[in-house]
């Protein structure tokens, strides 16, 4: 019994050794891309562009940070993008109808969280594999959003609300502050709290986790609810940054978020990975697109380049991981 418990709790402790090496490689990859872009483009290293990249990476990061926890438990949440779309449309309507951004923000977060909770209930109480449960949820959410919006677009929000996504504070974009805050909270939660360690343990070995007294179902519920709430937060940032919402915004958000988690070194098999890695993953994806825009890479080649970089990043990760073992 004691050995199983030890095994189950072991992965987070190894963060300082093996995961630290993985993170180092990942940072190196990001820096390498930066170095290449700095040589090829004069404007890349300007302060404006660096802030630009951070702000663009933040939206993907918000979605991907919650998703990281889900993937750490060996689950997947395919509904995040659709959740962002529904939450944005509902939050946007509330702001339009009541004129209160605060009420809209609360509604957006609550909508995202409730969807996440429903995902969690399907995975725990109904024991539906997360891939299927959240894939089904993706359709349900799309259906609801398309029906609700009926081909219309919401646009035009109060200037104060717009500050969240577009404003600056002491020269830094506000989403960048939020990025730092959630990067801190996420890392602390995963690495330094009992709940965080239990999540790693569930992903590493769910049977051992249950036997060692971890309330697996309750933790899974929490993880899906957090993922949903982060999608709700992303919807608020989206609304205030773009000044609008429409039904089809989700489609282009899900896969980059999943890619950020995986490029960041979180294993689809669970138990291995960090929120900081996911941040680097989001950064790498953003850097690639930013670089291609700065260098005016032809629209024909952009999907190909993105694809190759994603494959290279994951392949390098697997290679270094094997060597480390």
């Amino acid at each position: 019994m004691t050995d199983i418990t030890k095994d189950a709790i072991a992965p987070p402790r190894s963060f300082l050794s093996q995961d630290a090496i993985q993170l180092f490689y990942r940072l190196l990859a990001a820096l390498l891309i930066c170095a290449v872009l700095a040589v090829l483009s004069d404007s890349f290293l300007s302060l404006g562009n660096i802030l630009n990249v951070l702000r663009q990476a933040s939206l993907t990061f918000f979605i991907a940070s919650g998703l990281t926890l889900v993937v750490l438990t060996a689950g997947l949440d395919l509904s995040v993008g659709a959740n962002v779309a529904l939450s944005a449309c509902i939050a946007g309507t509330v702001i339009h109808k009541t004129g209160s951004p605060a009420l809209g923000i609360l509604t957006g977060l609550a909508c995202g969280g409730i969807v996440g909770l429903l995902n969690g209930i399907m995975v725990t109480a109904l024991r539906i594999p997360s891939f299927i449960a959240t894939y089904g949820m993706l359709w349900v959410l799309n259906g609801l959003t398309y029906w609700y919006m009926a081909g219309e677009t919401l646009h035009g929000f109060p200037a104060g609300f717009r500050q969240i996504g577009s404003g600056y504070l002491f020269g830094l974009p506000i989403p960048v502050y939020l990025l730092l805050v959630f990067l801190g909270i996420g890392t602390f939660f995963a690495q330094r709290t009992i709940w965080g360690q239990e999540i790693y343990a569930i992903g590493a070995n769910p049977v051992a986790a249950r036997l060692s007294g971890i309330p697996v179902a309750r933790r899974l519920l929490l993880v899906y609810a957090v993922s949903g709430t982060m999608a709700g937060l992303a919807s608020i940032i989206f609304l205030s940054r773009l000044n609008s919402a429409e039904a089809d915004i989700g489609e282009s958000l899900t896969l980059p978020a999943i890619a950020a988690v995986l490029i960041g070194g979180t294993s689809l098999f669970g138990g291995v990975g960090t929120v900081f890695g996911t941040f680097i993953g989001a950064l790498i994806l953003t850097l690639v697109l930013n670089g291609m825009n700065l260098l005016s890479v032809s629209a024909n080649w952009q999907p190909l380049v993105t694809g190759v970089i994603v494959i290279l990043a994951v392949w390098l990760d697997m290679k270094t991981r094997r060597r480390a073992q």
Binding site: Y146, E152, L242, A247, L253, L289, L294, S296, A299, N300
Partner: protein, 324 residues
């Protein structure tokens, strides 16, 4: 052109042979559109409903739940062939991939009108659509005229390889060739998505200190680009395509220079009209390619009316609306 004329003549002859008021009304018209997300198709659907109501017929709307899904539209065609509506008004989600679907409709001998995107194959009794190339050409010409034929221009493209994008961007580029004073700085993909267009614009502003004009392949991307410009406190003349309500609002407030429109409402109206007329053995126009409208602050009023309150063109108008 000769072929078009002979097609046009055939229904005329048929109409002469029969009396004009041949069959009772109450027909059911199945209307196929590409998705529920693009406001353009909402205008098509409202136009179709409007015309059906005027002519005392019913519509059944078929829309893939997953936008532009080829398998889904194929299975909807299978359903419709079993249900046998009086006629079909059809927009293929993909102009090539849906040809086998159209052939199934043809085999079932259900009369079908092609609207919006021209199908690469199959037999249709009429085509009602617009020309994306001239839409791109005319909007870009308007931008260049406003800029006095010079300036630094950026193109934000839609989904690479989609028919609409290929033609619109070709139109943009041909208009740019007519203005030697204008310089194309970049042509980058925004995939018809607002967020992607915003980010592309933010990135392009980093490497280009002076951008005078933006040509976006749809309105959502145009508005995304405007948000990016506003965020950086920069100004440029921006063009969109589709004539959405959002674009009209932006034109009214002076943020958007213009939006190209090929009148989805009229496409829905006229497609349905042709289908019903053929059922009633009345003459049909075999091809209507609508002229693009460049909506600007001088002519936006007719477009600033809720869809439900718009009126369909008459059969006599249809001939005049055609560019050919």
């Amino acid at each position: 052109m000769k072929r078009t004329l002979s097609y046009m003549a055939m229904p005329l002859l048929m109409a002469a042979a029969f009396t004009t008021q041949a069959r009772a009304d109450g027909e059911t018209i199945a209307v196929f559109t590409k998705n529920q997300t693009n406001p353009f198709f909402q205008t098509v659907r409202v136009g179709a409903d409007n015309m059906a109501k005027t002519l005392n017929a019913k519509t059944l709307q078929y829309i893939p739940t997953k936008p532009d899904s080829i398998p889904e539209q194929l299975s909807q065609i299978e359903d419709v062939v079993v249900k046998k509506p009086s006629a079909i008004v059809f927009t293929p989600v993909d102009y090539k991939a849906m040809v086998p679907g159209v052939e199934k409709i043809n085999e079932a001998k259900i009369p079908v009108v092609n609207i919006t995107d021209r199908s690469a194959g199959g037999k249709f009794l009429s085509f009602v659509g617009a020309d994306d190339y001239s839409l791109g050409l005319e909007t870009a010409r308007f931008l260049l005229k406003t800029l006095g034929g010079k300036g630094n221009i950026v193109i934000i493209e839609g989904v690479k390889g989609s028919l609409t994008n290929v033609d619109r961007v070709r139109g943009f580029n041909d208009a740019l060739k007519e203005a030697p004073g204008a310089k194309l700085l970049a042509s980058q993909p925004g995939n018809y998505q607002r967020l992607q267009a915003l980010q592309v614009m933010e990135n392009l502003m980093q490497s280009n200190s002076q951008i005078d004009g933006v040509l976006a392949a749809n309105d959502a991307m145009a508005v995304g680009a405007i948000e990016a410009l506003d965020g950086a406190n920069r100004k440029a003349q921006v063009i969109g395509i589709n004539g959405t309500k959002e674009a009209i609002d932006a034109i009214k407030s002076g943020k958007l220079l213009a939006s190209g429109d090929y009148n989805g409402f009229a496409q829905g109206c006229l497609g349905t009209m042709m289908a019903i007329r053929s059922l009633r053995n009345q003459p049909v126009i075999s091809e209507i390619v609508l002229k693009p409208t460049v909506i600007t602050k001088d002519n936006y009023q007719p477009f600033d009316v809720p869809l439900e309150q718009r009126t369909c063109p008459t059969f006599e108008d249809a001939g005049k609306l055609s560019a050919k």
